[in-house]
């Protein structure tokens, strides 16, 4: 790590806002030395409670996050917010508008709001988000809120970097709830029916409740709620505390009704978030989640690194454009090209193996 980064790290740990802001920029820019910086940050993380908030556009996410931040501040806790907006796939430009709704806490520097947008690479934003969370955690934020539009796999990956995920469902979206089922239902630890002063609230709550009951009574056995990943052996975490009946060993997704514009229901929402946090700790699911997250981070980093290495190999093989043209001209096919590009790498690895058996 160079001297500038050393200073940056020291200033961030001291609590200098500018240093935190600059560190997040370095993370976003993939600036030289950012990896060493995050490695150093790691030792100072693990204290913050990370909350993910997602929902369709216009569901009231930013307004609710604003009220959440305000309430946490009243309770004397510091807050970091990472607000994610989509960027144009054509120009890379973006208008990051979530800040406008963050009106209750302006002028309070202990609420640190940072807007981020995707910058191209596959899975890059979820890595950058996770790293930005690390930076805020090391900075000393008690609560870190990640806010993102729940529109696809990318957003789901982002929001899964949180310990607790709240999904906002506006009332009257009966059929929308159906479409939510596939992707978003499984990731919700808490459902929030926001704009609960509008008609259709009762029906939406009812529909959600039926869905949750169906889910916990059905073949999924509720296991989708305490393991972040269906592929994990999440069953172990549920029985971890069976000898202590006082503690909750399973989690049933609660439904909270809020009116974010006037703060109704925000306290109940915070209570549920705290209850989920307690459940995570008591059941051992938090440690399990952290482990899965680390595994995912290692995989993503390796994938990105190998990808970068292969870019150079691809150039040597004639560049992607020429190779694509060759495929289009019928001279070769993508599989052959991939094999050819990879073969020197494979040779190197094979040689390594013979050297270090």
């Amino acid at each position: 790590m160079n001297a500038d980064d050393e200073t940056l790290l020291a200033e961030l740990l001291e609590g200098k806002h500018r240093a935190l802001a600059r560190t997040i920029s370095k993370i976003e820019n993939r600036a030289p030395g950012y990896r060493e910086l995050i490695s150093e940050l790691y030792a100072h993380t693990g204290e913050a409670e990370v909350i993910g908030i997602t929902g369709s556009p216009g569901a009231g996410k930013s307004t609710l996050v604003d009220k959440l931040a305000e309430t946490y501040r009243e309770r004397g806790e510091t807050v970091g917010v990472i607000a994610i907006d989509p960027s144009s796939p054509f120009t890379g430009g973006a208008v990051l508008g979530d800040r406008i709704r963050m009106a209750s806490t302006v002028g309070d520097m202990d609420v640190f709001v940072r807007s981020m947008s995707a910058r191209g690479t596959l899975g890059g934003l979820s890595t950058a988000t996770a790293d930005a969370v690390k930076a805020m955690d090391a900075f000393g934020k008690d609560k870190i809120i990640i806010e993102t539009v729940g529109a696809g796999q990318n957003e789901i990956d982002i929001v899964r970097t949180a310990d607790t995920v709240a999904v906002l469902v506006p009332p009257g979206s009966g059929d929308d709830v159906q479409t939510l089922k596939a992707g978003i239902l499984e990731i919700a630890d808490v459902f929030v029916v926001n704009k609960a002063d509008r008609p259709g609230t009762d029906r939406t709550v009812q529909e959600l409740r039926e869905m949750i009951e169906l889910d916990s009574g059905g073949g999924f056995g509720g296991s989708g709620h305490h393991g972040a990943d269906a592929g994990s052996d999440g069953g172990g975490s549920a029985v971890a505390t069976q000898d202590d009946p006082e503690k909750r060993a399973t989690w049933t997704t609660p439904i909270v009704e809020t009116v974010a514009t006037d703060g109704t229901g925000v306290d109940e929402f915070i209570d549920e978030l705290a209850a989920h946090r307690e459940y995570l700790v008591d059941s051992g699911a938090r440690a399990e989640k952290a482990r899965q997250r680390s595994a995912e981070e290692i995989r993503t980093l390796l994938r990105e690194d190998v990808h970068t290495m292969l870019e150079a190999e691809l150039e040597r093989a004639g560049g992607i454009d020429d190779l694509a043209a060759a495929v289009a001209a019928g001279e070769t096919d993508p599989y052959t090209v991939a094999d050819e590009v990879l073969s020197p790498v494979e040779d190197c690895l094979a040689e390594l193996e013979t050297r270090n058996p």
């Binding site: 806002h17 820019n29 993939r30 030289p32 120009t91 430009g93 947008s117 910058r119 690479t121």
Partner: protein
């Protein structure tokens, strides 16, 4: 890994400060900046100078564009500049002012650290070009 490609993007804050409800110009600029490939944070209307400073510092923007049509630029802009200085953000933020700024007020704003002032009739291309050329290299 050193060979990893950098993914830099110019970050801008488009800010409306004070009692001034005229935001058409700010919207047009925000859009144009977006289409130029910049990341734009828009402040919303009626922001106090401290709020602008808070946003500029936390978002670590390269460019701060302040839109003022109320005539209060000679009180509001210095407040913003002082705030930026307080957080060590003044030196490496390109500060632009857009709006109706009388000729005789310009030297004072420039002395405060404003890099350019764009009055009525400025073309969008000109503004974007200026930002591309002058955005701070950090």
């Amino acid at each position: 890994m050193s060979s990893e490609p950098e993914q830099e993007s110019i970050r801008c804050l488009v800010a409306k400060v004070g009692l001034d409800g005229h935001d058409r110009g700010a919207h047009v600029i925000a859009r144009a900046f977006r289409d130029a490939g910049f990341e734009v944070v828009y402040s919303g209307l009626h922001k106090a100078p401290e709020e602008i400073v808070q946003a500029a510092v936390q978002e670590d923007v390269d460019v701060l564009g302040i839109s003022i049509l109320s005539g209060a630029h000679d009180t509001l802009v210095p407040k913003i500049m002082n705030g930026l200085e307080e957080y060590d953000a003044k030196d490496d933020t390109l500060v632009l002012v857009g709006g109706v700024i009388p000729e005789e007020d310009r030297p004072e704003l420039e002395a405060e650290g404003v890099s350019a002032i764009f009055g009525p009739g400025t073309s969008i291309e000109e503004t974007i070009e200026f930002v591309r050329e002058n955005a701070p290299d950090r």
